[in-house]
């Protein structure tokens, strides 16, 4: 199984499946695969190695542990509360895969390796935020979005790994720790973590 296929399956699982626990496993697979792809590019400078290591520990280690710990404490949050039916979500994944493939075949970008995978990962992150109404899905969505950007950075601008590792690490830091701290506080009055319950505030 190629890394691209593994990421496609993990991304599809994130969107189609309706359980937070399973989405978490899919996220770990996606993040670990992306890290394996990024590893060679991140060995260029000592700074890049340090930032990459921090990013991997946060993404593949601490963030999933935090999410898992939260799920054990709040079993009711295991329902991702998707806002679309499963067939529609599957159709969405197919559309996203076709869109990612089309973008990667654009003449201006055709020379960039694995761009389709990076774009698909980005779309999966946005899809998680749009399709699921559970706040934990939004945290996972942000993590996936950060992974997609990290991949895109490594593929589009291979000469600047340190800058993008720094950016991606920051993204993960924000999404994981602030997100989970807020979710924990919100859970005291909204145990289902359903985003619809947040609609009291209108933009």
């Amino acid at each position: 199984m190629t890394p691209e296929l593994l990421m496609l399956l993990a991304g599809a699982t994130l969107i189609v499946n309706g359980r937070t626990g399973q989405a978490l496993i899919a996220y770990i697979v996606l993040a670990a695969t992306a890290s394996a792809i990024l590893l060679p590019a991140s060995l260029s400078t000592p700074t890049a190695v340090v930032l990459f290591s921090v990013s991997v520990i946060l993404k593949v280690g601490l963030a999933p542990i935090g999410l898992r710990w939260f799920l054990r404490a709040n079993p009711t949050a295991d329902d991702l509360s998707p806002s679309m039916s499963a067939p529609v979500r599957l159709l969405l994944v197919i559309v996203m895969a076709i869109a990612a493939k089309s973008i990667s075949q654009d003449p201006a970008l055709a020379a960039v390796p694995m761009l389709g995978t990076a774009v698909f990962t980005l779309l999966c992150g946005i899809g998680m935020l749009m399709v699921h109404r559970n706040l934990l899905a939004h945290v996972i969505g942000l993590l996936v979005l950060g992974t997609g950007i990290e991949l895109a950075g490594a593929m589009l601008a291979p000469g600047l790994p340190a800058a993008f590792e720094l950016g991606a690490t920051f993204d993960v830091l924000v999404a994981t720790f602030i997100g989970l701290a807020l979710v924990r506080a919100i859970a005291t009055h909204n145990p289902l973590l359903d985003v619809d319950a947040l609609r009291r505030l209108r933009g």
Binding site: L122, I149, A163, F170, D171, V174
Partner: protein
Amino acid sequence: MIALVIAAPLLGAAISIAFRSRDTRRAVRVLLAGVAALLPLTLLGTVDGLSTAFVVIVSALGFLATAFSAGAFSFDWGVVDTFWSRKSVFFMLLGAFWSAMLLVVLADNFALLWLGISATTLATAFLVGYSGEPAALEAAWKYLILCSIGIAFALLGIIVLARVSVEAGIDPANALNWSVILAHNPSISAPLARLGVTLMTIGFATKAGLVPMHAWLPDAHSKAPAPISALLSGVLVSCALYAIMRTLAVGTALGAGPQLHLLLTCLGALSIVVAGALMLSQTDLKRLLAYSTVEHAGIVALALGFGGPLGLFAALFHVFAHAFSKSGAFLAAGLVQREHATTKLSDLHGLWEAGSTGKMMLAALTALSGMPPFGIFLGELLLVLAGVAAHSWIALAAGLVGISLAFAALSRTAILIESGRPQSMTAEARTSTGQEVPAKLLSRVAVAATAVALVGALVVAIVPWIGLGDTLRLTALHIGTSP
């Protein structure tokens, strides 16, 4: 030296925690905030005009917000016990927020600028949800999610820009340095460059609260404690607009100028009209002020969209005028909230007769509505002139409709809350604040900080005729005529 200037607000907050006596700690906080606000003077002449102008805004308002917070912390903003609802954490986050904004305006490349913008989210998400109330936590959540998505798009745009720069032969170490990009005048892949700067503009526009990416702003700005609302509205939005200005300069050099001007014109006009219309239906004072921020961010974006030296000068000047006016307005709203235990417009009457707080609120609302002699009047006048010069009649007409709606909303609010008989504080309000006769407890420092911000809103009207005005004009000329 730049590193010390950037770190000073955070260091000051950390040092002040070491003092045990409450009064000493408070005095040290204000003193060190003053030092942090003055330190950027050492950078005069070493950073460009645009950075200098924004450093003035960040430092002045950062100091006022810290002084207000230190003076007014008998105000019980923390309602629910969360780990971040502590005074020491509040001041550390406030210091981090101030430092992050200094990083944004003192960075010389897009990677650091993005890092600063991202760090502001890190620092302020907890500050928005500081009270721990459900509505504040939800506002913080919306802020975190929407701004994270926005800055993710900006990062993607920066990555694309880096590729464009490297392909054009710029050394990877300087691929995101705007001075190097502008000096290099690269012959680059136009579609990719356009994609990069468009993504960056949309991302930073999310942080600036421009419609349709504004959904987080009214909630976050209205639910945060008053000094944080002042910084979010007066300074953070200005920093996001600064990032857009830098992007516009580079985008123009890379041949994406017309596209960016059109994008900013559309976002600006839409923001002014939508915010103006929504302001008419607001029932809460702080929420009204938050929508007013969307309107004024729209005015700056529209002026940038009109382009030309006049449009860019209008944008720069309006950022200045709005920063002081809006900070003063939110600080005054904080005092009103403390005195009356509410910001509901239906519960606020007779503020003019109730004391100095009511008079400051009136001055703030007058300034924001665009009445002379306040700076915002001049900013809006410059916007009209820039629109006429650019022959953008439809966008200008839309902008004027939105500005008129906002004027009507702010004037109606001023009449509503200032007229009538002052309401004495109800027993319920006393119980909710837990203190008797709060007006007597209002710290002079907090009142003084509010007054200084409002005087700033007035004094800023003379900027076009002093040295700072020349700096802004030269900066506008530089952005407008970048190769």
